[in-house]
Amino acid sequence: MQVAGHLLFPWKQNPCTRGAPVGTVLLDVSVNDLNNIRQKAGGLIAMLPKDVSILSDEIKEQVLTLEKEMLTQSIPVPVYFAPYNPNLEHIINDITQNSAKNNAKNEDAFAHLLMSVSANGYHVTVDGQNGAVNKNSKIPIIQGELVPSQFALKHVDNAGESTTLPLILITTNLKTFGITNDYPLNADVAVVMSLVEIFSKLHSVISTSPKYRLAFLISDAGLLLNFQGSKKWLETDDNMSLQNVEFVLSLDTITQSLAQNQPNAFYMHVSKPPKEKTPISHFFKLLKTVTGRHSENATVEGIHKKINLAESKISWEHERFSMKRFPAFTLSSVKNPSSSLRTTIFKDNEARTVAQTLTTVKIIAETLACYIYKIDPMSDVFEGHVVINENNVLPYLGIKSVLQNNDIKDGFEKYLANVKITYDKPDARDPDFMFYNGIDPKLNVYRVKPAVFDLFLTLIVSLYLCSVYFAIQFFPRFYNFIAANTKELFCGQVGNTQNATFKRKNN
């Protein structure tokens, strides 16, 4: 595919040039500009900021809003995102300056002509094929469960089959894309994987083997794909019997990838307010106590939002489970389900992210442990050889999809039983979602000159050639002049100075 166009001046000042792509730094685009671009520009090349963490909160907010807009609106023109690149920045600055000069009112016609001749244009080509529909689009769903060993069961309790034990399902989504094909921060998956690792230790010891089954479910894409993974899983689930479900705990944006100066808070999103004495309300109380103990300024708040069945897009993953009448809730650090933090690809300050994720893992693990062992929430379960530290979290922060490598699968198979991967493939006739092929295209920006510049250049070259022509015509006389001087100088014999010889000397 080739997208060609000229960026003679930024389009922002002159939005009537239809068809010209716009190149800009992402930070400079406002939502209003985006609307203009959608309607009038030929394309958008946006350079992502170099370092998000140094931006001020307002600019972060603006970037997030813009990102959200880009994700929700359909944009008919191609939009290219470029990572920070000093050359591209230089080009964008150049365009911006040119336009600033162009917009200067007090200039005469000659200056304007000079400007149009000397103006730098940029010719943008993009190679790489157009995004074709991937016929093999699929999203993986991986499940696994921690079953107390039969041996332990017989010893502790004489209750028969393990399938009759109450089930706690922990689900989350692996975000695999945002506005670009880049993995956003996947702290939720890291938390789930850490929980898998931590609780498998407890399950392996007979004395701490709980009377609960813990099941884990990770599906790809999440909110941006309307939680298709859990939908498919709920529809086709056949091997993990969803009987006797105590509750479904869903994690969503448990760690914010962009620091905003807000107090740490957990929000427990439910579709209907939990009644007293239900497992969810019990868990909620435990969570409040544990959170208060583990971090001073963190709060836990319950948010109730009814499921809007009329709307095709759901807000939280637990709604998929609630619709099937499973007690379910979502733990998240964002309050508003439409928050752009849930889909952002921007990450800042890794140290803060790690610390926050670690705290979250501790809180959830302690709460879960208190819940399944029915112990006092004021005591620490994870101490000594099962202490939770950064090593539990760090390896999972950059985890990739099952389609890409086997990290999740290997982790599940190492710690869990009944691991199964199912794939959700869209229906051929009425697809719920669709992926497009397309490797990262290469953007080439060439400096070009307008056609009038070439005409101008031809004029100068002709002038030069004329002068050379006359210089050559003049050369015999020049030679004779030198020869005459030389004769005087050397007092030599009489030379044939009238000889019309030609030797070119000067061009």
Binding site: R447, T458, I472
Partner: protein, 227 residues
Amino acid sequence: MTLYHFGNCVALLMPYYFTYKYSGLSEYGAFWKCIQAGCIYIFTQLCKMLVLATFFYSDTSSGNGEFNFFAELLRCSVDVADLLGFALILSRIPGKGHSKLITAGLGWATAEVVLSRGIMLWVGARGTEFSWIYIQKCLESNVMLVQHLTTATLIWLFTRHDLSKALKPLVSVLLAVTIFKGVWLEGLLHILSIGPWAAIAVKALVASLIGFCSLHIYSGLAQQIGI
């Protein structure tokens, strides 16, 4: 840019044609002689390449715009072969008077411009990216034409036995200056960090100065021997 831009660049090489046309070479039918001179240029360059590749250490890491004095000096010392090439042209290709020198210089310069600039212009100047470098290279080629004509003259003067003894050292010095121009001139331009346009102007000035001196000596000798 476009084919049109390529045309502009090629138009800048027109002085080569002017030289051929208006110096009377076309009347002598010296076209074939120019081709021969060009062939000798190619032969000389091949020999130079062989020597360079065989005996000289090539530092591939020095391509970062650094000016390496010793590498340049060594490279220029191989350029002495150019002088031998010129001498070969002058001795092998028959010609009369002025036209002999112009044949040698023009043939040499044309072969150089075609071989060393041709591909760059065809690929680069027609390419999408605009760069001043093609115009600059073409202008520089014009300077090189003057330079090569001068060198041919100097070599011819050097091989003459009837050149007065007083002028012999001057001719030798001018030859040395020409050959080692790559060292002293480029070094100077590098040290003074002169921009590409000014660099061409300086080169043109130097070429004109050397050319003027050689012309002066040449006209004296030409009158002596009556050509």
